[in-house]
Amino acid sequence: MHMATTPAIEPIVHLSNVDKDYKLGAVTVSALKQVSLEIAPGEFTVIAGPSGSGKTTLLNLIGCVDVATRGEVIVAGQDTGKLSEGDLTRLRLNALGFIFQSFNLVGVLDAFQNVEFPLLLQKKMNAAQRKERVMDLLNRVGIAEYAHHRPGELSGGQRQRVAIARALVTFPRIVLADEPTANLDSVTGNQILDLMQELNREGTTFLFSTHDPHVVSRAGRVVRLVDGRIVTEPEQQSPMSHT
């Protein structure tokens, strides 16, 4: 709920020695191996890596839509391995925001309603408060004039703006974005990245995955994954190197 502000004593995300296995028939596939990671408030972090490297799996664990096979995943102070499905859902609702590669808006609802939807699930605000909050965000992402357009009537970039507004509407601790620009042309993709960066500067913590080097270049921090392992995790622009 509260925006990450001053001294980041406690990380929003804390992973230690996380393994994630998938069973494909008789074979067990190891998607993540011994992953440890911390995300502090205010970061603008990219998880980079080729397809199949485990980016989405990592994002899913942090996003509480999946649980680790081994190791500890702590999100917003809660050990996700110990939560019930209902609690995980509540955690997603209250602490996380999601931006999807394909925007994933509800087609039958207009932009305003899509953004409002998580607030309705939260049941914390009355209609007036919701309206104020939703319109604020739509203004912020620059599509207030399209508030009553349905996704089908919007361009890809506009849709992703709606999705960003939706992700932010609940004041999440962290916004997770899975390849947010993959379905956009480069100009629009850049605009979306600009927006995200602006929002980051205003205090929103972002964690997103990509395999686009251009996107990686704009990250504040890069976590590089190869075959389910983090290969490097220091400053910006690190080349692929030692284990």
């Binding site: 996003g63 839509v65 394909s102 039958v108 609802l109 939807f117 992700a167 390849e179 995955s209």
Partner: protein, 709 residues
């Protein structure tokens, strides 16, 4: 709110799904509304038809009788039992605050011979001879002679077809007699000894005449006066009511027209009615059939016309047809070949010129009619009774079901039934006592006499009328004595005498109530329903220990009463089938649309929607679908019902008239129809949503991420 919006918009978005699901739900709702209206209206109007014409609200029959009472059931006698203490029963039941009246009844069918034209003509001839009217006598004689010639022809034709060897001696003799009467010398010698000739014609020839009307009449033997007062659908049409307490017969106008009326005239009436309904001669098969029969059955007219009448009719037909044809057969044929254009004119001409010269009804009001009954074990019983008039059951004038009931006074009915009064039984008991059989108690006499074990020698009585003393002649009674065996063989010869003697005799209420009846109708007061009535009456019967079984009108009316139950079952079954099919189809299409929405649902789950909220969304969608489509279907159904409720639905056949209680049927939606239809649609929709909803609940938030990586 948002869920309802999602639901509504989903309906609009998924057009194919909506069309399939919507179509089915609309149809189901429509069917329920229309079906329920139809059935409940039929039930209502039919109950009026049945209750207010013959059955009353409740019927009583003997407890333990072999057959259940079936008023509109099959013809012929059933072993429905006998009620002996009607007077006592009536007093007790009519004292109940719920009961308006109790009417005694016995329903049976018998054969009546309408009498043939030859008989009538011979009677006229005898009168003419007696009066010395030579001219009239000659006219009638020529007519009779022509009829005899025709009869001779027809019998000779018949002879050609049938096996001479197997023919009875009576029949052979009859053929010879007719041939003799067809000789010129028979007629030449008529004037020499008219009475001998008349006797020969009356005794030998008339019985050979074919084409005699044999009527199968169904009647209610009842306390006519009370029947008239209690059954408000009863109304007189022609003639007069049977005077209170007297013997007599009333024809149902329907039966009278249908069976007693001259066939050609009846067919013309039917054509007229049908044309009035808007049918056309050229396109209506039934009208064509009637016209064809009228043309080929010209003898129905020509046979009845003597030469004076023939000339008059011939002139009128020639004028109408503008023809010089002199052959009556051809003239009638041509005359009966009616079209839409000339029908009314010819119909009027028929009634103006032909009808007065023929016997329009084979039994007329005021006639004494002979009813030939069959008692339980097949003995013939015969009574003569005066026909007072015709009546109808209001609104059911054209129904064969209600129209089949004629009315007979109870005293005559008892004679015909061949059953004994209590006095008579006492007499038999006395006779038996004298002849050494053990004494019978009055109230157990019945069982002792007719029970299975009653193998004693039982005295036979020769007469079953209450007014004549029983001249008991001991004979060898059948070992297996039945009521009919004892009382059924009243001598045929006595009947005719009896009628004259009994006509005009006024019976007291005690006499009418005192004898045996088969069943009794209870009419409740308007404030009480049948269910309450049944409970109260049952309680009274139990308290008074009457040997009676009460039946509500539905049960008592036999098959017809169950008819509504049957169509309810048919409707329920077809709705069930439709629902089952709908269930499968709706389920399928919802599963499809759920799969299409996998990502959307996954996204909702990812951004924080609980499983229960997904379920809730599906349920809301189901309710919205049921509401929207159910309402549309109900509106259609209601519109249809309202339309026919206002304009009426023409009852296309007799049975429909009976069901609808009148010539037009006005369906109305029962107040509970709408909630029932909506509820049924809702239940079906919710059930069909269960599986798709369960599938949707199992969709994980991972589904939202599917297309990446």
């Amino acid at each position: 709110m948002i869920l309802i919006q999602i639901a509504l918009r989903n309906l609009l978005t998924h057009k194919i799904k909506s069309a399939i699901v919507g179509g089915l739900l609309i149809f189901a709702a429509f069917l329920i509304i229309a079906g329920l209206s139809l059935i409940s209206s039929i039930d209502k109007s039919m109950s009026k038809s049945i209750v207010n014409s013959v059955a009353g609200h409740i019927q009583l029959q003997e407890k333990g009788a072999k057959d259940e009472l079936s008023i509109f059931g099959q013809m012929g006698s059933n072993e429905i039992g006998y009620i002996h203490n009607f007077a006592e029963i009536r007093k007790a039941i009519e004292a109940m605050p719920e009961v308006a009246a109790v009417v005694p009844m016995g329903i049976d069918s018998s054969i009546v011979f309408g009498g043939n034209v030859l008989d009538v003509k011979l009677e006229a001839l005898r009168n003419a001879v007696k009066a010395g009217d030579q001219k009239q006598s000659a006219v009638i004689r020529r007519h009779v002679r022509r009829m005899v010639a025709l009869l001779d022809d027809e019998l000779k034709n018949l002879k050609g077809f049938s096996d001479q060897e197997k023919m009875s001696d009576d029949m052979k003799q009859g053929l010879l007699d007719v041939a003799e009467a067809n000789q010129p010398k028979f007629w030449d010698s008529f004037d020499a000894d008219p009475y001998a000739h008349l006797e020969f014609l009356e005794n030998k020839i008339a019985k050979m005449a074919i084409g005699e009307d044999m009527l199968m009449l169904r009647y209610v033997g009842t306390d006519t006066e009370r029947f008239r007062k209690v059954f408000d659908r009863f109304e007189m049409v022609d003639g007069q009511m049977i005077p209170p307490g007297q013997r007599g017969f009333l024809f149902n106008k329907f039966t009278y027209e249908e069976q007693v009326k001259h066939k050609t005239a009846r067919r013309l009436d039917k054509i007229k009615d049908r044309l009035a309904e808007g049918a056309k001669v050229a396109t209506d098969d039934e009208i064509k059939q009637w016209i064809k029969l009228n043309r080929t059955q010209y003898k129905e007219i020509t046979f009845q016309l003597d030469d004076v009448a023939t000339d008059e009719v011939k002139a009128a037909l020639q004028a109408e047809l503008q023809s010089k044809e002199s052959d009556m057969a051809k003239l009638v044929d041509a005359f009966m070949d009616v079209s839409d254009a000339n029908f009314q004119k010819r119909y009027d001409l028929f009634y103006k010129v032909i009808a007065p010269r023929i016997r329009l009804y084979s039994i007329r009001m005021g006639d004494t009619m002979t009813i030939n009954g069959f008692s339980q074990s097949g003995y013939a019983t015969t009574v003569n009774v005066k026909v007072y008039g015709t009546f109808r059951f209001h609104g059911l004038d054209r129904s064969t079901m209600a129209g089949a009931f004629n009315i007979l006074d109870l005293m005559t009915y008892r004679d015909l039934l061949g059953y004994m009064t209590a006095d008579k039984k006492a007499e038999i008991a006395k006779l038996q006592a004298q002849s050494g059989v053990k004494e019978l108690k009055r109230d157990t006499a019945e069982a002792e006499l007719f029970g299975e074990g009653g193998g004693e020698q039982v005295e036979d009585t020769t007469n079953a009328t209450p007014t004549q003393a029983a001249a008991a002649t001991p004979t060898d009674a059948p070992a297996e004595a039945t009521p009919a065996a004892i009382a059924g063989n009243a001598p045929l010869s006595g009947a005719k005498l009896m009628a004259k003697e009994l006509e005009g005799h006024v019976y007291s209420q005690e006499e009418i109530d005192g004898g045996v009846i088969r069943s009794a109708a209870i009419m409740l007061k308007p404030d009480f329903d049948v269910k309450t009535g049944m409970e109260k009456v049952s309680a009274l019967i139990a308290a008074k220990k009457f040997a009676l079984k009460p039946l509500d009108w539905r049960a008592a009316s036999g098959l017809v009463g169950n008819f509504v139950g049957v169509i309810y079952a048919v409707l329920a079954f077809s709705i069930f089938i439709i629902f089952l099919v709908s269930l499968v189809i709706i389920n399928n299409s919802l599963v499809m649309s759920t799969l299409e929405r996998t990502r959307e649902i996954g996204t909702m789950r990812a951004i924080g929607a609980q499983r229960s909220e997904i379920l809730q969304m599906f349920m809301v969608e189901a309710v919205v679908m049921a509401g929207v489509f159910g309402a549309i279907g109900c509106t259609f159904g209601y519109a249809l019902v309202a339309y026919f409720g206002h304009f009426g639905l023409l009852a296309s056949n007799d049975f429909m008239i009976f069901l609808s209680g009148g010539p037009r049927f006005y369906p109305a939606l029962p107040p509970w129809g709408l909630p029932v239809a909506m509820l049924a649609v809702l239940i079906v929709t919710l059930i069909s949503t269960l599986y798709p909803a369960w599938l949707a609940m199992r969709i994980t938030p991972l589904a939202a991420m599917q297309d990446s990586e």
